[in-house]
């Protein structure tokens, strides 16, 4: 019964607050890739894996009054901040979602910046390729972000850290 909506609400609740649509997208993608049963389908877009379904669901939750979206001006652009509303918390209490270790993983990801999560999610998206091929993909498809070899190594290390958390 609105289980997929409930999972997303749970993710936002355990994260406390998520700032940035891109960050939210990447956090859910990474969580899905490492183990958690999010249903949203992702495709590769400008900033890496992106889910139209996730965007839709977030907008629906805002319209339902379960999520609070605050639009903030940041430099030359707008940024969005998401928290769960009281009615969202009440809905979740009626529709419990069991996802052990989710809080630990998402809290950690929430502490990273969106640029790094974009890199981590891109590395995970190409997990069928060798590390050298992944690096090539990152340098070609994300040339504007100017990621370094060291950052790519760090992304691989970070993925392993997250995997340890769910063991």
């Amino acid at each position: 019964m609105l289980n997929d909506h409930a999972k997303l609400m749970q993710a936002i609740m355990v994260s406390g607050e998520i700032t940035g649509r891109k960050k939210l997208q990447k956090m859910i993608y990474i969580a899905k890739k490492i183990a958690f049963p999010f249903q949203e389908r992702f495709q590769f877009h400008f900033y890496g894996p992106y889910s139209e379904e996730l965007t839709t669901r977030v907008e629906e939750l805002c319209n339902m009054g379960f999520l609070d979206e605050v639009k903030e001006k940041k430099g030359g652009y707008f940024q969005y901040r998401y928290t769960l509303t009281d009615s969202g918390k009440e809905f979740l209490s009626l529709n419990e979602v069991e996802m052990p270790f989710l809080q630990d993983c998402l809290t950690d990801m929430n502490g990273q910046n969106a640029r790094f999560l974009e890199l981590v999610s891109t590395v995970l998206y190409f997990d069928n390729l060798s590390k050298a091929d992944v690096a090539n993909k990152v340098f070609t498809l994300k040339s504007s972000q100017r990621y370094t070899e060291a950052e790519i190594d760090e992304a691989y290390r970070y993925i392993e850290t997250l995997k340890v958390k769910i063991q």
Binding site: Q39, Y47, E59, E60, N63, F66, Y77
Partner: protein, 433 residues
């Protein structure tokens, strides 16, 4: 002569109700159409369960794939050829990607993907790169050609212009399915002046743009898309059939996991249920196979599986009520509890389904959005995002429309032979008493 440049001695044409003719001159395209993986698309309907609402909607992904190929061919050969921004070396790559973009779709993809966590794009990649007839043909073009085609379809290629022809807010995929689905469903929406749009398309480094003079044709296309989504794709009767289909798959999976003894062993599903489906298994699936199982599962001992299959096969679908999750989530919890007490498993018989569409969205540099907007090419050579020029598009830009419905089996709820009081309470809550 290199295989990539090889032409058929005589052009082949397919008669097509939407584009009149689909023209094939390239040997590689002709060979790809003849592969067993591409022919399989004839056995997968383009619109899934929509045929239960619009009886004409029996067309297949094969028709649509040829249509997308034909639109892209016309753009490249009739509009882009000879323009400096277009690299004709990308011609065959673009045509192959257009033809094969839906290759990984399975039967009733949406439901299958939901229940078994499949991704048809993943299977498209596997078919193109795996040991298949399609891969064999693509390899004749060049050793890295299959990977290049797969990358364009997955949108991970650096060739952004090629990607945008097949996947963007105004692409060949949408232009074909809107017209084709309108034709086969018989609705009067979905029509727009595609010839005009094709004539005003221009290649740019990273996307296709539209000459300003074609703006009104694009407005018409966006409105057609809006109408088709709400009148056809989200039709509540088709959604009801899809809800039941999804629940059948859920039930069969659950029974399998509980070691239920099926009267007829579901051989085609075994590896799927185990979560280790191979490409070979996947390619054996088509709608005739799935419908065969639905047919025989009508005789199963399990009452839920039997009932759901009977409903799907005989089109005895769930009824629906409007549902506002924000205001009615407590009512939903109450209904859930009443269903359980009445002996009707809410997991299978009380379903919230949501439909949502965004007709057009824009992206302006600096914002955290992901959708590439439609750009108009102005007379002075500047590019302007469509909604900044079109009042009609501006009025609907970024505005999502969502609709939630609650599906339930009306015959169960009205059957007062058992649990009469509980069912009366259910009907009162559903406001159908």
């Amino acid at each position: 002569m290199a295989y990539s440049a090889e032409k058929l001695f005589e052009e082949k044409v397919f008669k097509d109700p939407v584009h009149r003719y689909v023209h094939v001159r390239d040997r590689a395209i002709w060979d790809l159409i003849g592969t067993k993986e591409f022919q399989r698309l004839r056995r997968i309907k383009q619109l899934g369960t929509t045929f239960l609402t619009f009886h004409g909607a029996e067309h297949s992904r094969f028709n649509h794939s040829l249509g997308v190929y034909e639109i892209v061919r016309r753009i490249i050969d009739d509009v882009f050829a000879g323009r400096p921004e277009w690299d004709d070396n990308d011609r065959l790559l673009t045509l192959c990607a257009a033809l094969l973009h839906d290759l990984g779709h399975g039967p009733f993809s949406h439901s299958f993907e939901k229940v078994f966590d499949f991704d048809h794009e993943d299977f498209t990649r596997k078919i193109i790169l795996g040991e298949t007839e399609v891969n064999e043909i693509l390899l004749k073009v060049g050793p890295d050609f299959p990977a290049k085609v797969a990358e364009v379809i997955a949108k991970t290629s650096e060739k952004k212009l090629v990607i945008s022809l097949i996947s963007s807010q105004i692409d060949a995929d949408r232009m074909d399915y809107l017209q084709r689905d309108a034709y086969f469903t018989g609705v009067s929406y979905g029509h727009f002046d595609m010839e005009r749009i094709l004539r005003v398309m221009r290649p740019r480094e990273d996307q296709v743009v539209i000459k300003k003079s074609g703006m009104h044709a694009v407005e018409d296309y966006i409105m057609s898309r809006y109408q088709m989504y709400w009148q056809v794709y989200f039709h509540p009767v088709s959604r009801s059939a899809e809800v039941i289909l999804t629940k059948i798959l859920h039930r069969a999976k659950q029974l399998f996991e509980e070691n239920y003894a099926f009267k007829y062993e579901p051989l085609h599903f075994t590896s799927i249920f185990h979560g280790r489906v191979t490409l070979e298994d996947y390619l054996k699936l088509d709608e005739s196979v799935i419908l065969y199982y639905f047919q025989i599962w009508q005789e199963e001992e399990d009452a839920i599986l039997r009932d759901l299959c009977r409903r799907f096969v005989n089109r005895n679908l769930f009824k629906f009520a409007e549902f506002d999750p924000a205001k009615e989530y407590k009512k939903l919890a109450e209904l859930n509890s009443l269903f359980k007490k009445a002996g009707i498993d809410p997991e299978y018989y009380l379903v919230v389904d949501s439909s949502s569409d965004l007709p057009y969205d824009f992206y302006r540099p600096g914002e955290e959005e992901e959708r590439l907007p439609i750009h108009l090419l102005m007379k002075n050579g500047d590019l302007r995002e469509l909604s900044r020029e079109s009042e009609i598009v501006d009025a609907i830009s970024g505005k999502r429309r969502t609709d939630h419905k609650l599906y339930y089996p009306a015959d169960f709820i009205w059957d007062d032979s058992t649990k009469k009081n509980l069912k009366r309470q259910i009907r009162a809550l559903l406001e159908i008493e």
